[in-house]
Symmetry: C2
Subunit: 466 residues, 2 copies
């Protein structure tokens, strides 16, 4: 097998034994596994050759790019892992057309830098951006902190190139905004977690870089006032809120424990800490005035001041420099490290309507101690889109208890019109949830599609579908 | 058969003979056909019952809603037509959550009115809005004039309910902005032209109604200056251009012939007529100032004035009232009547990058007379998204000539990085184009999906897939 793979991608690009360490667990360490080998093709043609070989030899393939997922989507016992990390070229980047054409192994923050260099942004962003790669972002339809304004990953993709389970290459690298020509395979492959095809490249949408940002940390008496703030800012700015992130007091506390040199957001610790960021694109909102402020910053300060006077704000700090803005973001983006700083943890990733985040948390605060009195919740939320990362520090490695906690979280989320899965995907960790929560006719249709496109079941088996 | 169907949906809702006239051709009259019967279920359960019956009896079903398509997607010889027109309820409309929950038979303009009544908009709009229904909009992923700002139909849909070819109901009526739970069946069914399932209801996104619009007719020396205008307006307003529509002189002329009482856009007829509309949502852009103008109207006028002084504008008229604005829109929205006012016509619907619209038209002006010297082009374009409706008035009903003209249009569009199909879909009219232009691996995957979900081929056979 090793010789056959080496013939396809070169000996140096087939890893075994110790050389596979980097790929033999997810980054949280929750899942450990032993792939047969790791193969690192350097081109779409090489990916296709490996998949064809896998078909002929009935070998299962687990695609992997940045390996920063949280749902066990790259578990690869008894499979060959196909790493896309060598396909790391930005093939083209044309600001005038607002597109970047990138390979699956491009690291998200490298694309951020390349876009920034031409005064554009690729808006998708989240804590793992320094390791996460485009292939994984697309395969999980990653969300993150700017969904409120720019949508999920799929909303930022114009075209893709993918190797199908047969080894054939679907080339639909359209740069067009209208292109209705048959079933939308792009949207089918995005979010399919590598079970229907391996995305090798994509045409991504760039957006104009906001000419000015205004960023603040805000403390409110409850989440109700936070939503008032969000709505007032959206109305005042015509929908310019880029991010609206909720960190409870415990998030701040654990962040300080992990990073003792970090500054606390407020002099007095607060229960509700909101990171709000507004971005301005129209020149009239970006130009620094006589008062040394941009109009967008003035809108933010005026709104905060008014709410303070109405008693709806406990404290607020507006970033006065890019360094202060980055400090605010680093605190938020440490959430994965914070959640995984204690084990065992249960990474619940749910979504509810925005005004149901508070009732969800209130109900869980009652339910969790009933199930596991010694458990602790560690929460962070994209409040602007209703996505709550309700991580639970379980008291012990009890699998049955783990599942009943997950089930309770789902019960509560669904009771408020929510979803059991928001932005991390299903992988292996949410297969039981998928089985018990997803519409049966939808699951039947998904299984039929999987069987039709991958009859031998060679691509990322045991993931996504219960 | 009639008795069986009557037992499922009631005798009054099974049409035969003369009563089927309304459903026995497309609205252009280009396609005429004889369905076995037209059945009009009144609920999702009745749709499911009809599809189950069709499965058991091996009867083919052609779903239809507003029947305003241009690609022959409802041709129904030897099939039972399933009309969704009785499913015309807006089940719920909640401006605070920015959603409307509607059935497939809701007429687009009725949804516009319902949204308007609560100061919201459902942005999808096109000429046939007074007859087109939501089911057809979703099944074709309709585009229209506001795609520039709000996206295509699929970008406006949060959740759907659909009856699958088995008769099972896929219920994924999510209202959430993050909901990654398996393959995206929503996006697969949207744009599938009723071949994979019958969409019966949807959760649609509403947007805040712009507090002010500024609308103008503009004449430029060439399309190059028109794109300068588009870019300047987007930069000045931070992306507030709602529509940017191109009408050549011939469009205006034929419009005047059809509607002799209509006013011409300019005193002197112009070759290039652009309808531009900007919408403002932030209060600071909507408030009427001392000069009687909203700031958004002032931005538009200033931009037009500057370009006029630079010699980049030949003429411009800004709408001074809602009536004038409507007059501008009626002229644009008459495009289908204009194109179909002479027969035989070939409705080519292509997309190219924005800066390739002019080269596309220039090349076609040479190619068309070579193929059919007596043919005439009648063009209208969504210039803001590169979508050109390049209709050809063919000199005779010559099917071979018709196909070679279509092929030439595709050749030229593709040579400029375009697509052979933009917003009208494939239906039956573009099956040859689909066969010769679409990536073969993509077609193979589509056929596998169709066979898996609809093994008996009962849903809208002979459409979309070559």
């Amino acid at each position: 097998m090793i010789n056959e793979l080496a013939a396809l991608v070169g000996e140096a690009n087939v890893m075994q034994g110790e050389d596979m360490a980097r790929w033999s667990s997810d980054w949280t360490g929750a899942y450990r596994f032993s792939p047969l080998a790791v193969v690192r093709p350097g081109s779409t043609a090489e990916v296709a050759a490996v998949v064809k070989w896998a078909n002929e030899t009935d070998t299962t393939i687990v695609p992997v790019s940045g390996n920063t997922g949280l749902a066990g989507g790259t578990r690869a016992d008894g499979a060959v892992m196909l790493s896309l990390d060598r396909m790391n070229q930005i093939r083209d980047l044309r600001p005038e057309a607002r597109v970047a054409i990138v390979e699956a192994g491009v690291i998200l923050s490298n694309l951020h830098d390349a876009a920034d260099a031409v005064d554009m942004i690729f808006p998708l962003t989240f804590g793992a951006k320094g390791s996460a790669m485009i292939g994984g972002c697309l395969s999980t339809n990653a969300g993150g902190s700017n969904v409120l304004r720019y949508g999920n990953t799929r909303d930022l993709v114009l075209g893709i190139e993918a190797v199908m389970p047969t080894g054939e290459v679907v080339e639909i690298m359209s740069e067009l905004h209208k292109d209705n020509s048959g079933y939308n395979l792009k949207h089918l492959l995005i979010g399919a977690e590598g079970t229907l095809g391996i995305i090798t490249a994509a045409v991504l949408k760039l957006h104009p870089k906001p000419g000015a940002y205004a960023t603040a940390m805000v403390a409110t008496p409850s989440l109700d006032e936070a939503l008032v703030l969000l709505n007032r800012l959206q109305e005042a700015t015509g929908g310019a809120v880029e991010a609206f992130e909720y960190m409870p007091r415990r998030h701040i506390e654990v962040h300080q424990q992990i990073n003792p040199s970090a500054r606390e957001p407020f002099e007095t610790p607060q229960d509700i800490n909101i990171l709000v960021e507004v971005g301005a694109t129209a020149p009239r909102d970006c130009t620094v005035g006589k008062d040394g402020q941009t109009p967008i910053a003035a809108y933010l300060e005026e709104t905060l001041m008014a709410m303070f006077e109405e008693g709806m704000l406990l404290d607020a700090v507006v970033a006065q420099s890019e360094a202060q803005r980055q400090e605010m973001w680093e605190r938020r983006e440490a959430s994965a490290e914070i959640a995984m700083s204690r084990k065992p943890f249960i990474a619940n990733d749910i979504a509810v309507p925005l005004d149901k985040v508070a009732p969800f948390l209130k109900t869980m605060a009652q339910r969790l101690p009933e199930l596991d009195p010694a458990a602790e919740e560690i929460v962070v939320a994209h409040l602007g889109d209703g996505n709550v990362h309700y991580t639970v520090w379980q008291s012990s490695e009890d699998a049955a208890l783990r599942d009943s906690i997950m089930e309770a979280v789902e019960d509560v989320a669904l009771s408020f019109g929510g979803s059991f899965s928001a932005e991390h995907g299903i992988g292996t960790s949410k297969l039981p949830s998928m089985q018990r929560r997803k519409n049966p006719a939808a699951i039947a249709a998904m299984k039929a599609i999987k069987a039709a496109l991958d009859p031998k079941g060679i691509l990322n088996p045991g993931k996504l579908l219960p």
